[in-house]
Amino acid sequence: MKILVIGVNHKTADVEVREKLAFNGEKLSKGIAGLCALKNINEVVLLSTCNRVELYASVDNTETAINRIKVFLSEFHAIPLESFESSLYVLCGTEAVRHILRVASSLDSMVLGEPQILGQLKDAFSTALKEKSSGILLNKLMKKAISTAKRTRTETKIAENAVSISFAAVELAKKIFNDLSGMSVMLLGAGEMAELAARHLLNCGVKNVIVANRTYETGCRLAEEFCGKPVRFEEFKSEMLFSDIVICSTGAPAYVLNRDDMHTIMKERRQKPVFLIDISVPRNIDPDINKLENIYLYDVDDLQEVVNTNMTERQKEADLAGEIVEEEVESFMRWISSLKAVPAIISLRQKAEMIRSEEFSRLRNRLKSVSDEDMQAIEYMAAAITNKLIHAPMVALKDDCEDRQEMIALIKKLYALNGDHDDKK
């Protein structure tokens, strides 16, 4: 039994290819069923996200399985094999295990360290469990992948520091105010990014939202969404007295807020700190305002710069996470190799059991006069002897050592265990 990964991701295939190969909706369970029906393929987990379509399988013969799966993909999605074959990557054994663990830990993601992939992998696994397409090998592997991902997340900083502009704004707010829960945020103009940032801030405990939009009605709708207060655009300056965070994206051709305005506002605010975020291009807030005390003004480039720095940080952490993955790959491969001893252990135990029961029934036929009680004692002794005799070789088989293969062969030879039990398994 070998572990196999076949798939495409955002690095190897364009979105046109990925979407053709995607297993979404009903296709997922049909795909799993189809794959399980293929000969030689024992277990299947199917991961299909917008950035990757990957198939994890445990197979008996890698070469034939790869070909069968390729043909299946082409037939299932009704696309010619040539159109996607060059984008496919195929990994077996240790390579496959490493890949799966890296995917789960978000080391293979487009945005390094992004958290969604773990959830998607968990979903893929639970679908496989529901379809009963996953067995002892892949179950263990999926659990390993999930625990590895959690380990990398807690032991490295791969998922720390914002890598989106809206999150970067929230992180900055936390370095300006000691507690976001009492803060008010004002949306000056309604844009997608401004909305997103406001939503993150609300998640962090910001209570009051004020929306000032040129089209008052749009502003009202948005305010309602945030349980906030809409104000007329012309009045935003007086509302700034009560806003600690201002997210500006009006799309006006010139500055809507200049230094003198802000100076007056700060005086009236009694210098309470203000965080101004100007994500409009061209800028809507006079950059000179950043020179005033207790005001921190960030434009879209500044935030992008924060994001870039954080990405570099994550890149560094990725090396550490990679080391953790290597450790876990090694521990999984050890488990796999311990599986090799399982057939030998089973046949050894069966053989001992067979001898014991044969000898015991022969004895019972001969000793008619012995009482039931004594017979039980004899049976108990027979079991004890066989168990004790096979105990040491069993421990040796289970033991994790380098010459396990030789050990297995040796024990098979010593106890005259023929390979028929292996085949049954």
Binding site: K175, Q271, P273, E305
Partner: protein, 271 residues
Amino acid sequence: MTTLLFELALTFYFAAAIVSLSELFRESKGASKMMFAFAFAGFALHTVGVAARYISTGQIPITSMHEASSFFAWCVMLVFLIISRKYKIGIMASFTMPVIFLLMLSASIMPREATPLSPTLKSYWLAIHTLLAFLGNAAFAVAFGAGIMYLIQDANLKSKRLNGIFQRLPSVQTLDDMNYRLISAGFPLLTLAIITGALWAESAWGSYWRWDPKEVWSLIAWLIYAIVIHVRLVAGWRGKKAAMLSILGFLVLLFTFFGVNYFHNTLHRFP
């Protein structure tokens, strides 16, 4: 005995200061724990040392430059430990521990023998006046650290340099808040120290205020802190201006403490 305790405390403070400075460059939970272990050990030994000196001489141990510096360091340590408990800002140690160590170091280079007090100074006013002054100054010392942290964090935010120490420093609002609270605690103590000093001066030397250099410099420091509190209450001044004034105020206090003895003839001179 007291010498040994002092030397041990000095050594532990030195270790704590070195570890705390290393935290400026690299974040490490282990280093922070080690810093506090050293600081606590030093503080415990220091406390025993101060107490032992008090018992052996029978007077509050602030009658020589050595004793005064050492006791000042002890007070700063006390305030620092209290503030650390409240704010839980690991990197704060990097801005206070070196100050504490330097105070101890300056104590170590001064003559250590205890000198008997002149009869005019033997009074319960001595303990009251100096304790108030030292505790007030200790609060200002930690405020000085908070002020420096504020200026660094403010500069980071303004110039958009957002890695390294930026990540480890708390928000500017927290630092400003901490600075203000410490000044609000130190100011009444300093005020009372000046008042009790005046009362004592009246009973010992016959007049409340003699424009002694130490008195003048204390008054300057008092005025600086008064300005910080006043303009904050009246005009909401805070942040950078408050931090800079708080740093200036402490420098004036340091001069009051050390400098006045060397440059001026003063009645507050240590024997």
